[in-house]
């Protein structure tokens, strides 16, 4: 029975959502990312792991062109989303980011009400036709982000008045409210307690049905729990990429093994 499911999964994850080839990132003189080749599959959770400062966030930000906003950042190589080069001159990054949503490492809710935080994306993209629909989207997003019960009575209060973990879940709700095709999450659980973490992990697993999710995490257990594929970064290099099970049980690179077992990091 169990085996059957794994086989099914392998079949449905075959199509490639994002394909990165030879991605290099320079911050001024600093070579932050070297020659990264990754295929991110549809309906899959991909985990990026690696020691601090190895370039996980940098690579994540390449995938929705958030690095465009960093003046010193230079990205080269190709990244294809559904076969289209997202760094093509004709691509408008604004349109791209509506498809590739992002949850940032540090919670950054707008200094507006909780409701407006979540409703902002649907509003600017014209995803709903009336207030009732918008209310629905807001509620559904907050429920998915496991925040609804805590905030349902104070939707008009400020988003920055929430606790750190609540803010992070608000940011998750805000990101999924625009129903992106790919969701990039940079350490979404670093400020969450175990219960909220479990809820978010559940959410990630649910999201997999409709999106492709990329998650950066410092928790090996989390990577093992939620992801089907794992990429290990070290000092700007992509060291190893493959099935999560394989990476954690029989890593092929000694660096991966030392990191997983806690010897480098």
């Amino acid at each position: 029975m169990n085996d059957m499911r794994i086989v099914e999964r392998a079949v449905e994850t075959r199509n490639i959502k994002i394909s990165a080839r030879g991605v290099q990132v320079h911050y001024g003189d600093k070579h932050a990312l070297r020659d990264v080749d990754v295929d991110i599959l549809d309906n899959t959770v991909t985990a990026f792991i690696g020691p601090s400062g190895c370039g996980k966030s940098t690579f994540l930000r390449c995938l929705n062109r958030m690095n465009d906003t960093v003046a010193v950042a230079k990205v080269s190589g190709t990244i294809l989303l559904d076969g289209e080069d997202i760094y093509d001159r004709r691509v408008d990054p604004v349109q791209l980011r509506a498809k590739v949503g992002m949850v940032f490492q540090k919670p950054n809710p707008f200094p507006k009400s909780i409701y407006d935080n979540v409703a902002y994306g649907p509003r600017i993209h014209g995803l709903t036709r009336n207030k009732a629909e918008l209310d629905e989207v807001v509620e559904a997003s907050l429920r998915k982000a496991a925040l609804w019960n805590e905030v349902k009575d104070r939707l008009q209060e400020g988003g920055t008045g929430l606790s750190g973990g609540q803010q992070q879940r608000l940011c998750i709700a805000r990101a999924i409210a625009t129903s992106p095709e790919v969701l990039l999450m940079d350490e979404p659980c670093s400020a969450l307690d175990p219960i909220a973490t479990a809820q978010v992990e559940e959410l990630i697993d649910e999201l997999r049905a409709s999106f492709s999710v990329v998650i950066v995490t410092h928790s090996m257990q989390q990577a093992a729990r939620v992801s089907q594929r794992t990429a290990f970064f070290h000092l700007g290099n992509l060291v190893e990429y493959g099935e999560t099970g394989a990476i954690f049980t029989k890593p092929s690179d000694p660096r991966t093994e030392s990191y997983i077992t806690g010897r480098i990091g």
């Binding site: 958030m66 349109q95 950054n108 902002y120 400020g158």
Partner: protein, 453 residues
């Protein structure tokens, strides 16, 4: 093992044995430094507060009296023979009777009014008695009569200003001692003034005309008012705000959020900072050359004044606005861009609302310095003597000659009669009131924008 490490650090053993109840020498030194620093701070604040207090006190003690004024009330029979010799009530013929005719009428009227009230003028000659009446009164009466000839033949009550010296006597500026050396006033006149005040002929009351009258010539300081200066300053502030806010905010947003960072934008940046330091009189010369000599805008008009002040305040406002925009945390921009907001949407939905309080503060500071600016306005002719009120803002009043409050302060302060000095301080009070109003508007607006979460 632990002992060895503790011994390695010199403070180790001491620290460990020292009691927490007594401060160690280092702690005492640090505390003393902190106390000293606090004292410096308090001293600095006390010095600035006392300076502020002294300044306000001198201004108010000199200037408040400008808002009170002595008036002279008497009954006057408008003798038709004297005011309309032709007897046909024709406007042109009546215009031929100059203010001198009215002055004589008023002088005679005052004399007979005093007799009727039983006040003995004693040593005071007729000439000295007529010196009680402001030169403003006959002019006003003449205008009134010409506008309304039916008044001829009637006996009316005329309330006009008393002259500056008499007014000064009731305000303590003129005393019996100063009168002895003053050729314009005698002790006998002052004694008569006391009697007239008791009889209710001279009264001291709030001086609305100080706020509404036009400026007046050297001979009649009592009639000089701030009306045109207030209108001129109000027009200019309105225009400056209208010009400077959109230009300043648009320029700042462009430079901060959209402009590429290259040599050109660096150059622009340096220039803006330098322009903020250019002496204001230079802007006056620029305004004279461009707006008056080249563009042929009317001289002395609030429009030209506002354009010059706009040029002058723009750099300050751009610098303040850019600082406010830069202070918005970048994570907010990331958040908006990350869910697919365009640059415009990010700026207008998130950055500007957060920067608005700072922008407002900068704008008000800029407007305040524009309000108090004198030098450039002198160059574009706003110091000229303006006798007629400019019309309403919609009827082109901004193109008609006016003056401004600080210019009025300057021109009154340079006149010889001490009555003008009092008015000069009074004008400063009005200027401060203007500033207060602008600050209150800014605070109210800031409250509105500053919805804290």
């Amino acid at each position: 093992m632990t002992d060895a490490t503790a011994g390695g650090m010199s403070a180790g053993p001491d620290r460990r044995s020292a009691s927490l109840l007594t401060a160690d020498p280092l702690m005492r030194r640090r505390n003393a430094a902190e106390t000293r620093f606090r004292l410096y701070g308090v001293a600095a604040i006390m010095i600035s507060l006392s300076m502020l207090f002294i300044m306000l006190w001198t201004i108010f003690s000199d200037g408040v009296s400008a808002f009170r004024q002595t008036s002279l009330t008497m009954a006057v029979t408008l003798d038709a023979e004297r005011l309309d010799p032709q007897g046909n009530r024709a406007r042109d013929d009546m215009m031929k009777v100059t203010t001198i005719g009215y002055t004589n009428l008023l002088n005679d009227a005052l004399k007979s009014y005093m007799e009727a009230r039983g006040i003995d003028t004693g040593e005071v000659s007729d000439r000295e008695l007529s010196a009680f009446i402001s030169r403003d009164t006959p002019a006003q009466l003449r205008n009134q009569v010409i506008a309304n000839p039916d008044m001829l033949g009637q006996t009316i009550e005329v309330k006009g200003f008393a002259t500056g010296r008499i007014d000064g006597y009731f305000k303590g500026r003129v005393t019996r001692e100063t009168a002895q050396v003053d050729t314009n006033i005698s002790v006998a006149q002052l004694e008569l003034a006391d009697q007239m005040r008791e009889a209710g002929i001279l009264t001291v009351g709030f001086n609305w005309k100080f706020l509404t009258n036009t400026d007046a010539s050297d001979q009649r300081p009592e009639a000089a008012g701030l009306g045109i200066a207030i209108i001129g300053s109000a027009y200019m502030m309105l225009l400056v705000a209208v010009f400077v806010l959109p230009i300043g905010v648009a320029a700042s947003i462009y430079l901060e959020e959209f402009a590429p960072k290259n040599r050109w934008t660096d150059l622009i940046e340096v220039n803006i900072s330098n322009l903020a330091a250019v002496p204001s009189i230079v802007y006056g010369i620029l305004g004279l050359a461009i707006f008056i000599n080249f563009a042929k805008f009317p001289q002395s008009s609030p429009l030209v004044g506002a354009l010059v002040l706009t040029l002058m305040t723009l750099p300050t406002i751009i610098i303040a606005t850019r600082a406010a925009i830069r202070a918005v945390p970048p994570s907010i921009r990331d958040a908006a861009l990350g869910i697919g907001a365009s640059k415009m949407q990010t700026v207008f939905h998130h950055v500007l609302p957060l920067a608005a309080p700072g922008i407002l503060t900068g704008t008000i500071l800029g407007l305040a310095s524009a309000l108090g600016e004198t030098a450039p306005l002198l160059l574009i002719g706003m110091v000229a003597f303006v006798a007629n009120y400019p019309s309403g803002p919609l009827e082109g009043g901004m193109l008609e000659p006016a003056t401004a409050l600080p210019v009025q302060v300057y021109s009154w302060a340079s006149r010889s009669d001490p009555a003008f000095i009092e008015r000069s301080s009074g004008a400063i009070i009005v200027l401060l009131a203007f500033l207060l109003v602008m600050n209150i508007i800014a605070i109210v607006l800031r409250r509105r924008f500053e919805r804290r979460w």
